[in-house]
């Protein structure tokens, strides 16, 4: 009984294997010697740090599945390789072992995976329900924001001090006898007519398009009292501001195509569908300033100038100790440096939004001013503390540009912005 694979074939089989591994190593080598302008290093290879209250449960479930599948993977592939080596065709071997199966064994490897998978399904139901049917959905203190996607930017609408969102995404139709009432509650005359129905169909459509573009891109119902104090903007592309350490409800919708609201660090993802309203609930465990602070390193004020000369400090942000006297009284000085008061009681962020050290003279002035205020050291970080909103649903040709800056503020700072009703944690319902 001779194998159809002759001896030379077997030799070439081995030679191919060795040669190709060498080639693979060569490819890796070529890659590592690539010196582009791109960021260097291999990056971070695991789940991004988790910053939401429900996130750790998702991560633990991920890890459970990871280790179960890893164990199965290693077991199956090891067995496969052992069998391939041990039971390879050898000249002295006449025949394989004759068997058509083993019912007991097959029952075992049917029932065992079924049990494991049933447990996983139940476990994932628990975590899923905690996320989608979160207790935060009943929390009267939750902050509310409406995110309306459009190609290729987000609109964010905040409910204002009354904590209630108005009605949005209601657009006039060519058959409407009247335009929607204006912001002052009175009837509107647009394009010289009281309503699109007064115009011939084509002109009515053109008038509606003009109305949407100029007056009401979000289809807001101005007559709705809940919407009176809403914080909204005609133009899309504002950053998203949310409170940390407080339940958040994000309502999702879209003007045109399907978009997706994904915050990797918060394990939050849901599609924004036109014609529907999605709801996600989560709580952030970290404010942006806390993130900046956590990533900061302390630098003596004398060495700050040298530190800023390093190319890696191009986008650096300086955090200063606010408890030092005389540092917290101005928001802007003559040199154009801007002081933003973030939520942390002990830190201020200075940044100018430009390359940080454009002019050594200006920089020295600032450092001198900090010294005058009695500071001896500052903290410096390159992390602005903002998160990125990622659109994960293909939404058209500018899909890759559809992002927004997400900033988490402390509850006090969020309340100061009057975006939502004030936070009163004591009114939380008894559980």
């Amino acid at each position: 009984m001779s194998s159809p694979e002759s001896r030379p074939a077997r030799k070439s089989f081995r030679a191919c294997g060795i040669g190709l591994i060498a080639l693979f190593l060569f490819v890796i080598n070529v890659n590592s010697s690539y010196a582009g302008e791109a960021p260097t290093g291999w990056g971070q290879w695991w789940l991004p740090s988790v910053r939401s209250a429900h996130g750790p449960a998702i991560d633990s479930l991920f890890l459970v599945i990871f280790w179960i599948t890893m164990f199965t993977f290693i077991a199956v592939e090891t067995l496969l390789v052992i069998f391939l080596i041990k039971y390879r065709n050898r000249p002295e071997k006449k025949k394989a072992y004759f068997t058509h199966g083993n019912t007991k064994l097959e029952m075992t490897w049917t029932i065992l995976p079924a049990i494991v998978l049933a447990v996983l399904a139940l476990g994932s139901k628990k975590v899923w329900d905690e996320y989608r049917y979160s207790p935060a959905s009943d929390d009267p203190n939750r902050a509310l924001v409406l995110a309306i996607g459009q190609q290729f930017k987000w609109n964010f609408v905040y409910p204002g001090p009354d904590g209630k969102l108005g009605k949005y995404l209601l657009f006039p139709h060519p058959t409407d006898p009247k335009w929607p009432v204006g912001a002052d509650g009175k009837d509107v005359t647009f394009e010289g007519v009281p309503g699109p129905a007064s115009l011939p169909y084509k002109l009515a459509v053109a008038a509606i398009n003009k109305y949407i573009d100029q007056e009401n891109p979000l289809g807001k119902d101005f007559a709705d009292p809940d919407g009176k104090d809403d914080d909204w903007a005609k133009a899309p592309g504002r950053g998203l501001v949310l409170p940390a350490h407080r339940p958040i409800e994000v309502q999702l919708s879209s003007k045109d195509v399907i978009h997706d609201f994904f915050l990797p660090n918060f394990r939050v993802k849901l599609d924004a569908l036109p014609g529907m309203r999605g709801h996600i609930f989560f709580t952030s465990n970290m404010a942006s300033s806390e993130r900046s602070l956590a990533a900061a390193q302390t630098i003596p004020l004398d060495k700050l100038s040298a530190e800023l000369d390093k190319p890696t400090s191009k986008d650096a942000i300086i955090l200063i100790d606010e408890s030092a006297p005389g540092t917290n009284n101005k928001n802007k000085d003559a040199t154009g440096w801007r002081y933003i008061n973030p939520s942390s009681p002990r830190a201020s962020i200075i940044r100018n939004g430009m390359p940080f050290n454009p002019d050594p003279e200006v920089r020295n002035q600032v450092i001198q001013r900090l010294k005058d205020a009695g500071l001896t050291e500052v903290r410096i970080t390159t992390d602005p503390g903002d998160w990125e909103l990622v659109c994960e649903e293909l939404c058209g040709q500018g899909h890759n540009t559809m992002t927004a800056v997400v900033t988490f503020l402390s509850n006090e700072d969020y309340d100061k912005k009057n975006l939502d009703k004030p936070y009163h944690p004591t009114t939380a319902p008894a559980q």
Partner: protein, 693 residues
């Protein structure tokens, strides 16, 4: 049987199944307009492989862009040849072109490569041979399935020549994005400029005949569409025109098919006028080809098995193709309906999927009104999830055959394998919404589908363990098809296990629409189906073409593919765990993902390696056809029926109707001296050995 035109009909009557050699077919009916399942299978094979070249080149373009995204952080890298041809600024690929490339790569690979190769090629070639039939139950319908697939392919290709280029809404074509007509904005691609070159004089006059006024179609797609439509109508005419005289028949058939070609070409141009409508119409059309095939396979397996070939003596490849056909038959009509509704939304401004108050760039849309965008997703995935199994089950079947053959050992647990295929098919119909966990559908529905999805892993596990059981205590021969089959098993394990992550609704929150999904689908469809296809081609090549393939080239091709495949797709798991989004032309726009540039570069290098290694396969394929050693009847010493006839089998497959005495995998049988016992060889007690345990 009466529906079979011409003399072909007799060949499939049981009484005459060996007496049809007197039928003399001309060259055209023998090799081109053939009703022979083997020729049709090989025609599908060439179609699939040609589309694979295109799909592969598109994949290279995707990886080119992701290796050197043109952004503020890095400059791009000019795309060779194409960059200059298209007149891109500095030769960098624009993001909208990337969207198109990515959408068309997936569409072509899924609809025109994997399904065509697995179901079209192997379904056609193997089913009658493996069950001892002379041909399919409906040979003419079978031919029609191939010739109707051609216009579908031509429409899909025509999209590349449309203003605004081909479809760019992904292979899932979710509305409302896919309902947006191309509005004439953006740069006109060079390829369109070239194709606008008109023929002069008589050529121009002829072009006017096949192109209605106001058509968006340029000369190249119109001509290819006309040719494919004429060939399609011509196939019908070749068998149904009977005016008495042989020459009159031909003349009438030619005239009729030309007229039919003109009418069809003009009609298609009214329906498909931009990339997206081409996409809808092409896939819609291709569905009919699939349905014709499925009806045929089912009928053939049920009615035309040779004496002794009971259902449970069929090889697993036939079982899997049988159940695949059932899936095609039940799922494809749903896809066809959603495509037609989408086409109406796109073309005629209906609003099946477009909601009230649908506003695009601050313009109220005409088809805004009452539709439900999620409905398309439900209908689409109701087809496309079973389609995932349509794209893997036939490969599983062939791999089972190949593993048993080269382990020289019966398949471990034949009946459980059959039940597992049936179980996958049944569960495959009730898991579709696991693609939609984060789509905004009811979260409780998500849990339901998570449970059914978890359980579909059970039959997959059974199959994997039974394959391991088949190898256990075998006498394994490392031939080229065997290596590819082993790659299938080991890679399918990875693809199957990574599926458990996304089956869990909660974990899917993080990895949905990231590269984790891309890694998963490629481990199943490339690591699984493609290696299964390679295994099948290497295994059946001697039977199909009567030549042996080159073993050394086969080894090199396998090892290169295997290594580069893993180098390409394994790191994508890592990207996905980081939350790296799919379908992004320029990830350096996101500061959160810019540190993954080197990993992406590595993936691209491996992808190029993977692409280049396929040249070896092409060389082997063509070279072996020309210069390969003549193949014996049964080069692999296998037991099933196809190895009982010549290589390649004659018209009608078997000189004598084969009679089957026992199951398909009697290797290492203690009853005979050789280590294999063909299904046709009668040995006392061989059929009793099956259920010993």
């Amino acid at each position: 049987m009466t529906a079979i035109p011409h003399s072909m009909g007799h060949a499939h009557d049981d009484a005459h199944s060996h007496g049809h050699e007197h039928v003399e077919l001309g060259f055209i009916k023998k090799y081109i307009y053939s009703c022979d399942h083997k020729i049709i299978g090989i025609q599908f094979l060439f179609m699939g492989l040609l589309f694979m070249i295109l799909g592969g080149l598109l994949a290279m373009l995707i990886r080119w862009q992701l290796a050197w995204p043109n952004s503020s952080v890095t400059p791009g890298h000019p795309v060779p040849i194409l960059g200059a041809l298209m007149g891109w600024e500095k030769g960098y690929m624009p993001p909208d072109f990337y969207m198109m490339v990515m959408s068309m790569h997936a569409s072509i690979m899924i609809f025109f490569v994997i399904i065509v190769l697995l179901v079209g090629t192997f379904g056609n070639y193997l089913i009658p041979l493996k069950i001892g039939a002379a041909d399919m139950a409906f040979p003419f319908l079978n031919g029609l399935a191939f010739w109707s697939a051609l216009p579908a392919g031509a429409i899909m290709l025509a999209a590349f020549f449309m203003p605004g280029n081909a479809a760019s809404a992904g292979w899932t074509s979710y509305p409302p994005l896919s309902a947006i007509q191309y509005n004439g904005g953006g740069p006109t691609p060079f390829i369109y400029d070239v194709s606008k070159l008109e023929y002069q004089g008589i050529g121009q006059a002829m072009l006017h005949v096949v192109r209605p006024d106001g058509s968006n179609w340029s000369a190249v797609p119109v001509i290819s569409q006309f040719l494919s439509q004429t060939l399609f109508i011509g196939f019908i005419c070749a068998y149904y025109i009977n005016v008495g005289n042989k020459y009159a028949n031909r003349a009438v058939a030619v005239v009729l098919s030309l007229i039919g070609g003109v009418i069809m070409t003009r009609a298609v141009q009214h329906v498909a006028f931009d990339g997206q409508s081409c996409w809808f119409f092409s896939v819609f059309w291709l569905g009919f080809s699939s349905l014709m095939g499925a009806v045929n396979y089912l009928t053939t397996v049920i009615k035309l098995r040779c004496p002794g070939m009971t259902m449970f003596r069929m090889p697993l490849s036939v079982w899997s193709l049988f159940i695949t056909s059932l899936l095609v038959l039940l799922a494809t009509p749903v896809l066809a309906s959603t495509l037609m509704l989408n086409l109406l939304d796109h073309h005629r401004f209906t609003s099946f999927f477009e909601p009230f108050n649908w506003v695009l760039t601050n313009q109220i849309q005409e088809n805004s009104g009452g539709g439900y965008a999620l409905l398309h997703q439900h209908m689409f995935w109701f087809y496309s999830h079973p389609a995932v199994y349509i794209m893997i089950l036939p490969a599983m079947g062939m791999v089972s055959d190949i593993l048993a053959t080269f382990s020289r050992k019966p398949i471990f647990g034949y009946r459980p394998m059959v039940y597992a295929i049936a179980g996958i098919a049944f569960l495959g119909f009730i898991v579709w919404a696991h693609h939609m966990f984060q789509s905004g559908m009811n979260p409780t529905l998500g849990t339901t589908f998570a449970v059914s999805t978890m359980f579909i892993a059970v039959p997959s596990a059974i199959k994997t363990f039974n394959w391991l059981g088949t190898l256990w205590r075998g006498n394994i021969r490392f031939t080229v098809p065997m290596l590819n089959a082993l790659a299938f098993v080991s890679m399918f394990v990875i693809g199957g296990l990574s599926g458990i992550f996304m089956a869990s609704t909660a974990v899917d929150v993080h990895i949905h629409d990231t590269y984790f999904i891309v890694a998963h689908i490629h481990y199943v469809l490339f690591g699984g189906s493609m290696f299964g296809i390679f295994a099948g081609i290497y295994y059946y090549y001697p039977k199909m073409f009567g030549r042996m393939t080159n073993t050394t080239l086969g080894y090199i091709h396998f090892f290169l593919s295997f290594i580069f495949f893993n180098g390409t797709f394994f790191p994508m798991h890592i990207l996905g765990i980081r939350g790296f989004p799919r379908r992004i032309a320029d990830y350096l726009n996101y500061t959160s993902f810019s540190d993954l540039h080197n990993l992406n570069f590595f993936i691209s290098m491996c992808a190029f390696g993977l692409g280049v290694s396929q040249i070896l396969f092409a060389i082997n394929f063509i070279g072996s056809w020309l210069w390969g050693a003549k193949a014996p009847k049964n080069p692999w010493e296998a037991t099933t029926l196809e190895w009982e006839t010549e290589s390649p089998p004659p018209h009608g497959n078997f000189h004598k109707v084969p009679v089957v005495h026992h199951g398909p995998y009697e290797y290492a049988s203690p009853l005979v001296e050789e280590d294999y016992l063909p299904q046709t060889r009668w040995v006392e007690g061989a059929d009793k050995l099956v259920h010993k345990h």
